[in-house]
């Protein structure tokens, strides 16, 4: 499965939850598949999906899911020790690991070669790290959301993109409706 197929499959699971979605194609795909006010789309700032989602999870009690990519996590590897050492049960980090920088033309990442983000997350002190194949993600993600323990999911999948338009929503509108959904 490629990332857009995974997002289609998990859309019903994450629909009612606060989601921070990674820059580029992941946000464009989620926006096209199931736009919700509970989705915060990153229009820039590669690497910070996990940090934004984690700050949000620390600041309030609702479950938060950060959708990240292997390339983006590699950009901000310092995020994993921070998350590990300040764990909060309402946070789930979903790393869609397709071994490539999808939004820039599928150049290979080191996560698709010798580097295991699962092992990195464990070494950083994350207690619940689950590596899962794309087709098995749904139930794993559901139980991570339902669980009182913070979970890092590394979902291994194929690289590949679909053609779709950029998000034209104004960033302040994205932020405002998201904050209203957080308060609701």
């Amino acid at each position: 499965m490629i990332r857009s197929e995974i997002l289609k499959e998990i859309a019903p699971i994450i629909r009612d939850h606060l989601v921070v979605c990674n820059i580029g194609l992941p946000s464009q795909e989620l926006h096209m598949i199931d736009d919700q006010p509970t989705n915060f789309y990153m229009l820039g700032t590669m690497g910070l999906s996990s940090s934004i989602g984690f700050g949000l999870a620390l600041a309030q009690d609702k479950p938060v899911i950060s959708i990240d990519g292997d390339g983006s996590v590699l950009t901000n590897l310092g995020t994993l020790p921070t998350i590990a050492n300040n764990a909060t049960g309402n946070y789930t980090l979903l790393i869609i690991d397709n071994g490539s920088y999808g939004s820039t033309g599928d150049q290979p990442t080191y996560a698709g070669q010798k580097t295991s983000l699962t092992a990195v997350a464990k070494a950083c002190g994350c207690d619940n790290v689950i590596e899962v194949q794309d087709k098995d993600l749904g139930p794993v993600l559901q139980s991570a959301i339902d669980s009182d323990e913070m979970t890092i999911i590394v979902c291994k999948c194929d690289s590949g993109n679909i053609k779709l338009p950029v998000i034209t929503l104004d960033p302040v509108v994205i932020r405002h409706r998201f904050m209203e959904a957080v308060k609701a």
């Binding site: 820039g44 910070l48 901000n76 921070t82 904050m179 957080v182």
Partner: protein, 168 residues
């Protein structure tokens, strides 16, 4: 006056309850003070752009955030300031150790100091410079201004403000 306590008091008085820090020798006292305050959740960051991400999330979660860092961080956070904090119009007080100014003992720090105000000006970030201890009296107003305007705001605090740089 104890500057560290005054800064922490002003943060608390302005409902700032989520503070991330990347350390600097000059900031050690204020970081320690923030760490012991019950009203402030302190989360150290490994890099300042990561910290700004945490602050963005905390703000959307209903908390007033702040970041404490060194001015060298301006060099690594320009993209984050432009495409996250400013693009989505989020407030962020940045209490910045202004290394490389008067009474600085480390020559390399001057190399970033000479760019600091120019970079902040280029980003249209409101910038305040604390050089004398009494300048801290402006902090309360600056915090109110930051959350009124929904912008990142820089507070540069140099070695003279902190009473010199150790024994050097």
């Amino acid at each position: 006056m104890n500057i560290d306590k005054k800064i922490a008091d002003d943060l608390v008085a302005n409902d700032v309850s989520f503070v991330t820090t990347v350390p600097c020798k000059q900031l050690a006292g204020v970081i320690e003070e923030i760490d012991v305050r019950d009203d402030i959740f302190h989360i150290p960051s490994n890099k300042e752009d990561e910290g700004m991400g945490l602050c963005a999330g905390a703000f959307m979660g209903g908390k007033r955030p702040a970041i404490i860092m060194q001015n060298t961080a301006i060099g690594v956070t320009i993209n984050t300031l432009a495409t996250l904090t400013q693009f989505y119009r989020m407030p962020l007080p940045m209490l910045i150790s202004y290394r490389g100014e008067l009474r600085e003992p480390v020559a390399c720090q001057v190399e970033m100091a000479v760019h600091t105000k120019a970079l902040l000006a280029q980003l249209n970030i409101p910038t305040f410079h604390f050089h004398w201890q009494k300048d801290v009296e402006e902090l309360d107003n600056i915090l109110k201004y930051t959350f009124m305007s929904n912008k990142p705001v820089a507070i540069l605090t140099d070695a003279n403000f902190w009473g010199g740089y150790g024994d050097q």
